[in-house]
Amino acid sequence: MSINYLTPEFVIERDRDRCIDCQVCVRQCANLAHSFDEEDQKVVSDDSKCVNCHRCVVLCPTRALTIKRNPLEFKENANWTPKAIREIYKQAETGGILLTGMGNDMPYPIYWDHILLNASQVTNPSIDPLREPMELKTFLGRKPEMLRVEDGKLAEKLPPQLELEMPVMFSAMSFGSISLNACESMARAASEVGIMYNTGEGGLHRNLRKYGKNTIVQVASGRFGVDPDYLQAGAAIEIKIGQGAKPGIGGHLPGEKVGEEVSATRMIPIGSDAISPAPHHDIYSIEDLRQLIYSLKEATNYEKPVSVKIAAVHNVAAICSGIARAGADIIAIDGYRGGTGAAPTRIRDNVGIPVELALAAVDSRLREEGIRNQVSLVCAGSIRNSADIIKAVALGADAVYIASAALIAMGCHMCQKCYTGKCNWGIATQDPNLTKRLNPEIASRRLANLLHAWAHEMKEMLGGMGINAIESLRGNRLMLRGVGLSDRELKILGIKAAGE
């Protein structure tokens, strides 16, 4: 075997004055970066195996460990960066496509950070959310053209609506791509807070059926786990056309992860690869999509809203117009920073467009066409905090999906190694030794805490703008100003520059 040119990406620094050789790090690293040397009676580390997930660092009882980027330098070169060189070494070694996990980490502009919020001063009063009621309640679904009222009551039945206590949902992550404990944590938190979580294309495990009221069941190109009970089990159905992290690419859950439970839930044989085709092979047009939307509505007695999720791509506004006309009740737009359990690196880092621009373009287009009321818009793809949510709502979103943020709340440290199945935090793995590390009681509590905290912050920001209901902010782009953006970008976002 010839020499491997790849040097360790990280170095593990062990403070020998603090290390007590208790071997907690040895037991916790699924990548086997730490080991106990019986002869010397001390713990030693192998830098080359470290993925910088911080599991050992966080569990070390004496804080003896630090992980640092390997200071080893290549000859400085602005073009041939260490990343570019290392990727070539890796591919020359393996002959394979580069794989990665989580969302696009390239330094593209983050438009949220170029948008600022308004606040009331003198001419209009701000509102103190601790003293006055503040409404975050959100309804997702088709809204009628007009309301007819008879005897003080609605004369016609409203189309089915999803009721959310705050405009946030957990986006689709399948059982298979993440552990059942992770799914359960989100289901529990969603039912506690009064929002939705999404099954992803993994079917619905029998233990999670009880959270049906807070579940969106997904139908994707592999149709895994779909049967009449499944469609009835949730509060809404989502057709997944695409995903922000890998637009135009399907999914592949390797057979090793398809154990007994995943197999039963996905309704596929144990150990078989679960391959989701890139397209739905029965959807090659808007008309085909309409057929599937109405098939699902028919199957569920027109009682559940149907959502269509697409990746934000170049022609997103026209596509969404088509989806709205095809009969979708909700459109979820997933930007290029959206996460994934596994994607080809080149796709993740180079395909798709920023969700901020996509969202603004879609909202403008649907308004121009007079069909904005026919669908609710859900913005997905790296919503990092409550300010991002407020900005998304002001740009035109009815609600947002969060996934990376939810995983981080549960313990994810963004090491981007989800695809290896060795997640040391018990999230992106099916290894029973690792999945039990995620205690659903703790994780659901942390998720609920995060949502409560964000709800408080959103109310503060709304109050500052003198708005007492999230409904009044929706599409209210006058509350936004851009900084450091070109005229063209401001135009697409539909916002003024700061100072205007």
Binding site: P61, K436, I442
Partner: protein, 170 residues
């Protein structure tokens, strides 16, 4: 209910096998808690010439693992078997402790214990070491306090700690 049974007041440490990560931090903190440096892990491990033995042991056959320590039985065999009266049960709390001053290290308790949770301690004089519910540290067991995944918890004794269920549902 006419009378609250005694057992209602009694607390025990219970394990949740399904979330035990097998890190053995309970053992690490148990060692420190029974050393002369109760709140300093580094000194407890580096200064103690011979460390105390952990009084909780993680039983493991992967992926199953759980921390096991003295169950503080209602009718403890170790107390019955002790030939010097060193091993005693607190009538109020039911906590079983070993008075190391009176213990002669005959290991009768170790033979009698059905759970195998009494350890041999050779640090100074030869004595039996076992979980004392961290009474000296305020009765908050170090293992429970420091379990990173809440896989150990303190619960009320429902009936007998000897029952096959192993404790109350949480």
């Amino acid at each position: 209910m006419d009378r609250i049974p005694d057992s209602a007041k009694r607390k025990r440490v219970y394990a949740r096998e399904e979330v035990c990560v097998g890190c053995r931090l309970c053992e690490v903190y148990c060692i420190a808690a029974h050393s002369s440096y109760k709140n300093d892990l580094i000194k407890a491990f580096k200064r103690s010439y011979i460390r105390p033995v952990p009084r909780i042991v993680v039983e493991e056959r992967k992926p199953i693992s759980f921390g096991l320590q003295c169950r503080h039985c209602e009718e403890p065999e170790c107390v019955k078997g002790c030939i010097t009266g060193a091993m005693q049960q607190d009538p109020e709390t039911g906590i079983v402790t070993n008075d190391e001053a009176r213990c002669i290290g005959c290991w009768t308790c170790i033979l009698a214990c059905p759970y195998g949770v009494i350890m041999r301690d050779y640090r100074e004089k030869k004595v039996a070491a076992k979980c004392d519910f961290c009474i000296e540290n305020g009765g908050e067991p170090a293992c429970v306090k420091n379990c990173p995944n809440e896989a150990l918890y303190i619960g009320d004794v429902r009936e007998s700690c000897d029952d096959a269920e192993g404790g109350p549902d949480k």
